[in-house]
């Protein structure tokens, strides 16, 4: 009896489904899959005699070796009157010669070997990386070590990069999106160095002595972590690293602390002749390791992550008001991240889109999300976990950053546990606690002559002139 009943249900289902597909095809919404467990890769952890922590994962599948060393030498630590220095520092560290090698020699050798040594920087870290075919490992490691420990910051290369930075400043108002992102980051981090924006004067003031001092101050092996993966034998690699990094002396590094951002709410408006308005809005919330962060991350996905997020459905799918729209909770390491939404929308609907976006934030405060909506984004996070282990170098670098930030080794596991436990009530609670539309920083870049309503009808407008 029971079997027959199941047969009828199945038949009904396939009839309901049987539109242009074979009757035996499953309903894709009912397909059930196990959550796959990633094969967790753990690097070997070694400390060199000078205190440098090294994380190594062997991978013999291709004849490459990749490494990246992280240092706490990011943009927030540059001198307050020399904003933009860390970017110049990173370029000239790589391009200004090192050890006994001239700038041209380094370029020529690396490019002939089809290898790379690169220096990157962000708010928190500067990292120095290399990538090479195994055959050239020794030669490339020596250059990498020179760049890392003995950069020359040649004067003519410093002048070159300053000139290029000034040209980039000249061009930074060319694109409305670029203006909006810059002004939003500046306003939402007001009072904290993460909100600083470079100027022609701050770039012009940078000297070779500044770069050498910055290097001297922050580049110490005992506060750095190196992630290295690829085609090598771990023991031999450690011996090699001892050899090339042996002359890098330990030292004390003290990092300054800063007060958290204290933005001033309001509508920051930039006049630009364009047929779309770029809109960013949000407020600072919590750091990435504070209680509530995981729930904010989850609810921010409901708000703005992908095709099924509320901003996408309401602004783009249902109304066709934007190609690009979305939002997120940014990861705040060291100071609070921010919860935000953004749209690039037709100019004559600017006020309508702002109101529509604000309504999405308010709704998430006023009503709990549906269980179904919560599960969709929770499932995405949990099922996508296998993608955290698709590249050994990415795994090693992630662990290196976790250590540099002083986060617990199981930081991610804690996050997953909180994601698994989160309820609609939790999401509503963090929205009410941390997201305050009436205190938002709202940045609008657009042409006011074409707006549907003056922005002043939405709140206090602060006009930001373009420099």
């Amino acid at each position: 009896m029971r079997a027959l009943w199941i047969f009828f249900v199945a038949l009904l289902a396939s009839l309901a489904l049987g539109q242009g597909v074979p009757a035996d095809w499953p309903d894709p919404f009912k397909l059930q899959f196990q959550r796959l467990q990633p094969a967790v890769m753990q690097p070997t952890r070694v400390q060199l005699s000078n205190g440098l922590t090294v994380l190594l994962i062997e991978d013999r599948s291709l004849p490459f070796v990749t490494g990246r060393v992280y240092l706490r030498a990011g943009a927030i630590y540059e001198p307050a009157d020399k904003v933009g220095m860390s970017g110049i520092f990173a370029s000239v560290m790589r391009t200004g010669g090192a050890g006994n090698r001239s700038a041209d020699q380094i370029d020529e050798t690396l490019e002939t070997l089809a290898a790379s040594v690169s220096v990157s920087t962000d708010n928190l870290f500067t990292s120095v990386a290399f990538n090479t075919l195994t055959e050239n490992l020794d030669a490339v490691l020596e250059i990498w070590a020179d760049v890392l420990i003995r950069p020359r910051f040649a004067q003519e290369r410093l002048e070159l990069e300053k000139g290029r930075a000034l040209e980039a400043i000249r061009r930074r108002n060319d694109q409305p999106t670029q203006i909006a992102v810059r002004e939003f980051v500046r306003r939402i981090n007001e009072g904290h160095p993460a909100g600083n924006v470079s100027s022609a004067a701050s770039i012009q003031s940078i000297t070779q002595a500044d770069l050498l001092a910055f290097h001297q101050r922050f580049f110490k092996p005992n506060v750095a972590v190196l992630a290295i993966t690829g085609d090598f034998n771990t023991q031999e690699m450690v011996a090699r690293l001892e050899r090339v990094l042996g002359g890098w002396p330990r030292g004390e590094v003290t990092l300054p602390t800063f007060a958290p951002p204290s933005p001033k709410p309001g509508i920051y408006f930039v006049q630009k002749e364009t047929n779309q308005s770029v809109i960013y809005m949000g407020n600072p919330t919590v750091t990435a390791y504070a209680p509530g962060y995981s729930e904010l991350d989850l609810v921010s996905r409901v708000l703005g992550d992908g095709f099924n997020s509320r901003l996408f459905v309401e602004v783009r799918t249902k109304r066709g008001l934007a190609y690009a729209t979305g939002g997120a909770q940014s990861q705040g390491f060291g100071w609070p991240g921010f919860f935000y939404g953004a749209s690039i929308s037709r100019v004559e609907k600017t006020a309508e889109v702002i109101e529509l976006m604000l309504a999405q934030f308010r709704d998430l405060r006023e009503r709990p999300v549906s269980q179904e909506e919560l599960e969709l984004f929770r499932n995405n996070i949990l099922n996508a976990e296998v993608f955290r282990f698709t590249s050994r170098q990415a795994v090693a670098e992630r662990i290196a950053r976790t250590q540099m930030l002083g986060l617990p080794a199981d930081y991610y596991e804690q996050y997953v546990r909180q994601i698994q436990a989160a309820t609609p009530a939790d999401l509503q609670r963090v929205m009410q606690q941390y997201v305050r539309p009436e205190q938002f920083v709202i940045v609008v870049v657009g042409d006011r002559r074409q707006f549907d309503k003056p922005l002043s009808s939405l709140g206090n407008v602060i006009e930001v002139p373009l420099e």
Binding site: L17, Q19, G20, V21, P22, W25, P26, P28, L31, F33, Q34, L36, A39, L62, P63, F64, T95, D104, E108, E111, T112, L113, A114, L133, E135, N136, L160, G163, R164, E167, A168, R170, R171, D174, Q175, E273, T274, N275, Q276, F307, N308, R316, T317, K318, R319, G320, L321, A322, Y323, A324, R346, L376, N379, N380, N383, A384, V386, F387, F389, S391
Partner: protein, 493 residues
């Protein structure tokens, strides 16, 4: 110097074995309906990177329907009767009501009906759209994949091809196949007019409010006066506003067939097992007609330099292009080598001269196969001057370097450096992931089979300094040149 030569010899030996290893891993199947399936096992993680590529793109569009391939790419995400409908019988009727309301409105507009009549029909059209929306689950395909942990769900349209990409945990293979086989057979273009508005916003964002997009559009229009490479890939505003469901559906039904597609799966696959599941779903899709002969007109040889300026609210910029042949013509590979010699890395000729020595440019870059590759295309050089230097200064310096290529053979060291760079870039692609999936799809569709990827290294290695000199002389001529300059509105060049 001796040591250097030794390294180079080693470099030459290595990749062969590697390529051989990869080559042996790739499995290719052809289904009865013509769909080609390539699988590359890689057990690093339990994930599969999918790339479904069609040999359809902007060049296949009829005049007046510019951008319809891109529009159709968007619409293929809208689901099917069984994916995204709350009640298909009623939704189908509601979608037909929209088409009728739109046709009524179009007729009224064409016959210059009274304003009242147009307003009434516009309201009816909007009402029909609202009714249909109530019967649809928006973004259902994305919802299925999101639930299952997707990464990188996206698609792109070029002049010559369209591809759909997603990465999923490897045990979701059946879900992927169930969804895309259904889409290929039964795509429903729901929310069509809302999506046309989205595309219009995309056009504003990428081609109108972005100085590079705007410059590129005028450049192509000037360089290709006959061939469809000269039309904007996203369509003009008027074309986008003129899109209708029936025309889009006709384009979809004409072109998007299994026999014009390749499905590549890179990752945790077991070919002999997984092909069974692929056959079960993808094998059901009926074969379609072959690629219609579209009589795409050839671009006649250019006989005089063409120049165009775009006044724009941005800092100056320069885009120079030369017509050239495409693959598999050997000269296309020669032009790839020239691209590397001129702009790959800090020691490349143009970067060193313009950016480092003369400090005349913020940046310089080149492309040796723009904007497509099925038909003869262009070698382009783009550069941004550093004030007070001008685009005219950059032009002069660039032409000097091109003359040097014509007059002196490149040195053996320089040639070897470029070969090494080409090889390393190629090895990095072979490392797997979405990039490898896309590259294999590309070669399978356009180069007569994925195996071609393993033959190119030999072509590059055999190219001589003399060939480079000859190609430079043949193509870098003033009469074969198109120059587009972005001029600051109200400012100087």
């Amino acid at each position: 110097m001796r040591l250097k030569v030794l390294w180079l010899v080693l470099l030459l030996l290595l990749p062969g074995a590697l390529a051989q290893q990869l080559r042996e891993q790739i499995r290719k199947y052809t289904l009865d309906n013509g769909l080609r399936v390539l699988m590359v096992p890689d057990k690093t993680a339990p994930v599969i990177h999918f790339n479904l590529m069609f040999d359809v793109g902007g060049v296949d569009e009829a005049p007046g329907l510019g951008g319809i391939a891109h529009m159709v790419e968007h619409m293929a995400f809208k689901g099917t009767p069984s994916i995204g409908s709350l009640d298909w019988a009623r939704e189908k009727a509601a979608l037909e009501a929209i088409d009728k309301a739109r046709a009524d409105l179009d007729r009224a507009l064409a016959s210059r009906a009274s304003q009242e009549e147009v307003q009434r029909l516009t309201a009816a059209f909007n009402q029909a759209r609202e009714e249909a929306k109530k019967l649809a689950l928006p973004n259902a395909i994305d919802q299925l994949f999101t639930n299952n942990g997707e990464q990188g769900l996206n698609a792109s349209t070029g002049y010559d091809r369209t591809d759909y990409r997603v990465s999923l945990p490897s045990n979701r293979l059946e879900l992927y196949l169930r969804v895309y086989a259904d889409v290929m057979m039964n795509a429903v273009f729901r929310s069509f007019y809302e999506e046309a508005d989205v595309v219009l916003e995309e056009r504003r964002q990428r081609s109108e409010n972005d100085p590079n997009g705007a410059l590129s559009e005028v450049f192509l229009r000037t360089a290709f006066q006959v061939h469809p490479y000269g039309r904007p890939l996203i369509g003009s505003r008027e074309e986008i506003q003129g899109y209708r469901v029936d025309k889009a559906m006709e384009f979809w039904k004409t072109h998007y067939h299994p026999n014009r597609a390749v499905l590549v799966m890179v990752g945790d696959v077991e070919p002999e097992r997984d092909i069974q599941l692929v056959r079960r779903y993808m094998g059901v899709i009926p074969r379609g007609p072959a690629r219609p002969s579209l009589n795409i007109p050839a671009e006649p040889p250019q006989t005089d330099e063409r120049r165009v300026t775009l006044e724009y609210n941005a800092q100056p910029s320069l885009l120079i292009g030369f017509h050239k042949p495409t693959y598999p013509n050997r000269e296309a590979y020669v032009m790839d080598m020239i691209d590397s010699i001129l702009t790959e890395g800090r020691t490349s000729r143009l970067f060193r001269r313009l950016v480092i020595q003369e400090q005349a440019a913020l940046n310089v870059s080149a492309s040796s196969a723009s904007p497509g590759f099925r038909y003869p295309n262009m070698f382009t050089i783009s550069a941004q001057p550093r004030a007070p230097r001008t685009t005219a200064d950059l032009e002069r310096l660039i032409y000097e370097e091109l003359e040097r290529l014509k007059n002196e053979p490149v040195t053996p060291q320089e040639l070897q450096k470029v070969r090494n760079q080409t090889r390393a870039a190629y090895l990095r692609v072979l490392q797997g992931g979405p990039g490898l999936a896309q590259t294999l799809a590309f070669y399978e569709l356009f180069f007569g089979g994925y195996q071609r990827i393993f033959e190119e290294e030999a072509i590059y290695n055999a190219i001589t300094a003399e060939e480079i000199q000859q190609a430079a002389r043949k193509y870098f001529t003033p009469q074969n040149r198109t120059v587009a300059t972005l001029v600051t509105r109200g400012g100087s060049r």
